[in-house]
């Protein structure tokens, strides 16, 4: 797959699709509402974001991804956009 331009909208889709509930996008919603309710589900969420980025030929360390019950979709998206390479 060709490497697409990484835009905020693409990053937000990746972030939301990696959550357990995958409910419609809302940038201000916290990830708890989307099913990332604790540290264990945050680990899975980060791994899924990393895997989705690998598929489109981007790399990111899981430690650079902000995730967890109190993190908003927007904050998580920004961390992905700022750290993906």
């Amino acid at each position: 797959m060709a490497r697409p331009v990484l835009t905020p909208d693409l990053c937000q889709n990746i972030v939301v699709n990696a959550t357990p509930n995958q409910t419609p996008n809302d940038a201000t919603q916290n990830l708890f509402a989307l099913g990332v309710v604790d540290g264990t589900s945050a680990q899975i969420h980060k791994a899924k974001i990393q895997a989705a980025l690998h598929l489109i030929e981007y790399r990111i360390a899981q430690g650079d991804i902000l995730s967890g019950p109190t993190v908003t979709v927007d904050s998580c998206t920004q961390s992905v956009l700022a750290s993906a390479q």
Partner: protein, 402 residues
Amino acid sequence: MRNRRLILALSLFASLAVAAPNLIVSPNGTLYIYNPDKATVAEMADPANRGRWTVTVRHSAKSPAISLPVLDVTAHSSATGPNYVAVFVDTSALKPRDPHHYGWTVTFPLSTGPLSLTVPPPDTRFFAPAKSKDDANLYFFGSYLAGEGTKPIYSIDAKAGYIPEIHDSGIFLGIEAAATVNSGSQPPANRTRVDPDSITADIALRTARGNFLINTYPARGEFSRKNAASNFVPSALVQYVPRPLFQSPRHAFVLYETAGIEAGMNLNQPASVFKQPVDFSGYDKILRGVVGGYAAYYIMKKTGATAGDPYAAQVSLTYVGRILATDEPYVTSQTVRGAQVPLILLDDKMRHHIDGVILWNVSDFVGIQAKYTYGALPPLFQACAHQVTFGITFKAKLPGHI
């Protein structure tokens, strides 16, 4: 006067609630200004103002600034999507091309005052400050303990681990250790002795695939310091992490199941346990099947939730069952003529262990935690019958200046 105070309070709250603009540099070199002031978005995206933008990069704090031409500026606004102003720049002058190797400064003379946003150059020192605290974990819990058939004693649980990711591979490798002091005290306990009776130390290798967390411990030791027993038991565990079984905006109930295997050997056998001579001559190879589960009910805080303190209340239960393929010790007690005396066995019956936690943040300052433990842990599988510990947490932040 009262209304003025209310208006002042509301405006202060509004000013705190509105996030300040921040600059994100994408891997393609496009700059995204998040949380722009809505009143100034049109001014920023106006093509007539394109020449008023200045974008400079620096490879390091001491290197000269390179000015980059701005090609276009667009504004994006959506009810559900991200809101931002995108600044497209010509990055052909950058060598290396990766924009994350540079520090960025963006300025624009807004009519309401100059806008200046920066992203600092990357810290290339070997011992740079950690970006997140995910890698390093320290845990310490001290408590007052009251249990069945025992006088109250003190209990200390301590855990430490450092398991960083290998580059961006999704594979984590590190070390961790845990020590428990007096958690399985032999009744009756008349005093508190700071002497860890359950210690584990391991090299951990972790990764995730789909909804599965895979934890392998290629080297793992189990120790009981009181009775000089130790095992070398590498293990592999898989945890299934499905979506919450119940979910609302502030409540969630989860159930994660675990299965795995522990296989190794006994390294060191005690000649006596609690002053009773024992014969563990058949205790050599170790093979255990492990089944378990983690169930938890979380209630998020209405306000003031932080990454380290997200819940108003939390109830969780962890079960680990070990199915033994070989005989292993089991230390319990029995009543003989009204006195509790140790009973030491060597058998292959299934070993159970349950940990329960109730955490309630009564207020922003005070939290109550109750822990329940039942069962036995390796290496000696010293039985712990219905142990309850209570803890009170007081949290307060002092002013940064006086």
